[in-house]
Subunit: 205 residues, 2 copies
DNA sequence: AGAATTTAATGCGAAGTGGTACAAAATATG
DNA sequence: CATATTTTGTACCACTTCGCATTAAATTCT
């Protein structure tokens, strides 16, 4: 399914690597301020090639968002390994997030979705859709793990998994915003720790 | 101090009202996508007048952010009236925020700072500064109120006011992002309620 | 009234924008 | 080898961008 030799001239670039480079441009500058020239320079593709492969700027942006979302969900599934205590799971989720959020040139980049898609969401329906879906998928995955924690007795029966999950996500959202606002790693790690504590407050392990 | 008659031709516009109109443009479109033509049309000021009164686009944007920040802090101080229980205080804070966040044309606008300044914060130091200061001032104001709640016995002695305040803010940040992502008023209100519950969980009143 | 000073309005200009037309190049097929 | 097909690179287009230079208007000071 991958070696179907296509007819014409073969591509001289790897689509996935190109998307990763474009994503970095969007991550630093945001969608609106990222010009096709910026993207063209970063990907080493001239504009017509970029356009031919990914469509217009919004299409390209949506592709990078979708890839980022998928990567995030994969990492989340790994961090939520149900053989570990919920407390460890959440700590791993936040730790992984901070490793991504704090990596930046001039300043920390935070989360690509929260940092750059949130602005465009109001006037671009497709962006709003991806952002909304990303957030609720994230909530849902955590909710599943919390539901398990209630069943296993890790959390009290009276806990509301959906709401606890949304609050766990809220801490993530806050980390994403605060990273971009310039907060120190120490501050962010402290917030993550209190978040874990608050959610797992009634946990026994 | 207000009727010092200045020498030349008097201004034909009110600076505060103009800033409010410019703010609405930035709120919907973000800084980068808001053109001077947009701003000029919305404020009924031609570009040179805009420029003369407020400086360049970034100066104007920073002015609107600063005004928004100030309004927010004023509203926060009112909502945190210490003669009411902390639980009511937080409920009022979130209620007031949602009233602002959910007001939009095509889609909810969320928070001006979190929704539009977060993108620009990475590459514009002055924006990052305002955003960071706004977030930490907000934290600080809530922390003061929570400290009071500990002293009055409303919260347990073991509570960490700084961390609880940061978590209370985290819920706000999440509301801001989720509003722009298209979440329903019902969902947001439910999150706000759980936020209050989580923070005041050990409260007696 | 006349000079000085500030604001308003028109319009320009250099640079940058997203997107595309077109021809050259590279590959598969017949 | 010739043809069809796809990608690449150059150049270009119409449009928008921000900022400013310049002139006209409105007010205060002398």
């Amino acid at each position: 399914m991958k070696d179907e030799k296509k007819r014409g001239r073969p591509r001289a670039f790897d689509a996935k690597a190109t998307l990763a480079k474009a994503r970095d441009v969007f991550w630093d500058r945001g969608f609106a301020a990222a010009s096709l020239d910026n993207l063209s320079a970063a990907t080493n593709l001239n504009r017509p090639s970029l356009y031919g492969a990914f469509g217009d700027k919004e299409d390209l942006y949506l592709d990078t968002l979708e890839g980022y979302r998928q990567d995030g969900m994969d990492a989340l599934a790994l961090a939520l390994d149900p053989s570990l205590p919920l407390r460890d799971n959440l700590a791993r989720v936040y730790e992984g997030a901070l490793a991504v959020y704090l990596h930046g040139e001039t300043a920390a980049r935070g989360c690509l979705l929260i940092g750059t898609a949130t602005v465009e969401a109001v006037e671009r329906e497709r962006v709003r859709e991806v952002l909304g879906r990303s957030l609720s998928d994230f909530d849902g995955e955590i909710e599943k793990r919390i539901r398990l924690a209630v069943e296993s007795g890790e959390l009290s029966e009276s806990a509301d998994p959906q709401m606890l999950a949304r609050l766990a996500s809220a801490v993530m959202h806050s980390l994403a915003v605060r990273a971009r606002a310039g907060d120190s790693r120490e501050t962010l790690e402290a917030i993550a720790r209190s978040g874990v504590e608050l959610i797992c407050g009634s946990a026994r392990s």
